[in-house]
Amino acid sequence: MNAIELKYAIPGDDFTRAGEASSAIKMRLKQMGFDPGFIRRVAIAVYEGEINMVIHANGGEIAVNISPESTDITLIDDGPGIPDVEKAMQAGFSTAPENVRNLGFGAGMGLPNMKKYTDEMDVQSEVGIGTTVRMKIYANAT
C-alpha cells in the first residue's frame, strides 16, 4: 500500500456539519482494513481538532497522510492563535464561550484528548496568525 494524502477544508460557521471530515477519514481507514482500536484513536484526535477549528478558529484545513505504519494528521487554521499553549494543554482549561458549552463542548478536554490518543503531538501557535497542530499515530501501537 502506498501512502495516501487526504485534505479537507473545514467550514467555520456551521456547527451541524462539524465532524463530517472526521467521519470521512474514519470510513476511509475502515475500508483500508486498519485495526478498529487504531481507527478509533485517529478518529477521536481528528474530531477534537475539527471541533476546535469550528469553535475557535472559524474553520481551517485538515490534512491526513495514511501509510501502513502510521497516520500523520496536520490541522492548520488562521484563527486567533493560542496565547499559552502549555496552559491550553491542561485538562479542564477552556476559553470556549457559554454558547459553545451549551453545545456540549468547551470542557477543556480537547487538546488533552488529542495528546492522550496520539503518539506524537506538536502545537505551534502565534496569536493573530493561527495554529498548526501535528499529530502522529502508529498503526501497531496499543
Binding site: 465532524g19 456540549g104 480537547g110
Partner: protein
C-alpha cells in the same frame, strides 16, 4: 445485556436502529459534555445524554458507541436520527431523568469502565 434490555429497563421509545436491539452493550456513560465522553467512554457502550444535537451522534460515531439514549423525553430532529441511522447507531429516548436512568442501568449490572480517574 442487550440494547433490548436497556429499552425495557428505561421504558424507551426507539427512534432508529430497531433491527439492532439484540446487540450487546458492555458499558455506559452519562454526560452532557461531549468532550468528557471523548475523554473517557469505552467502545460498544451506551451514551445517556440530555444534550440534543448532531455532535452527540458524531461523538458516539468516533467512540464506536452502539446506542444513544436521550433522557428527560428529549426528542431529536429527524436530521439527527437520520445521521445516527447512517452511522449504524441506535437512538432511543426515555422519560427518565439522567440520574434515575443511570441508576436503573447500574442496578441492572451495567458498569462504566472508568468509574473514577
Amino acid at each position: 445485556m442487550t440494547i433490548s434490555d436497556i429499552k425495557n429497563i428505561l421504558d424507551c421509545t426507539i427512534l432508529c436502529g430497531e433491527d439492532q436491539l439484540g446487540t450487546d452493550i458492555n458499558t455506559a456513560d452519562g454526560a452532557d459534555m461531549m468532550s468528557d465522553v471523548l475523554a473517557f467512554a469505552k467502545e460498544h457502550g451506551v451514551l445517556l445524554t440530555g444534550l440534543v444535537n448532531s455532535q452527540v451522534v458524531r461523538t458516539a460515531e468516533m467512540m464506536d458507541m452502539t446506542c444513544i439514549v436521550f433522557v428527560r423525553d428529549k426528542t431529536p430532529d429527524q436530521s439527527i436520527v437520520d445521521l445516527a441511522d447512517n452511522c449504524g447507531i441506535v437512538i432511543m429516548k426515555t422519560r427518565e431523568m439522567m440520574f434515575s436512568a443511570c441508576g436503573k442501568l447500574y442496578e441492572a449490572g451495567i458498569r462504566s469502565e472508568a468509574s473514577s480517574i
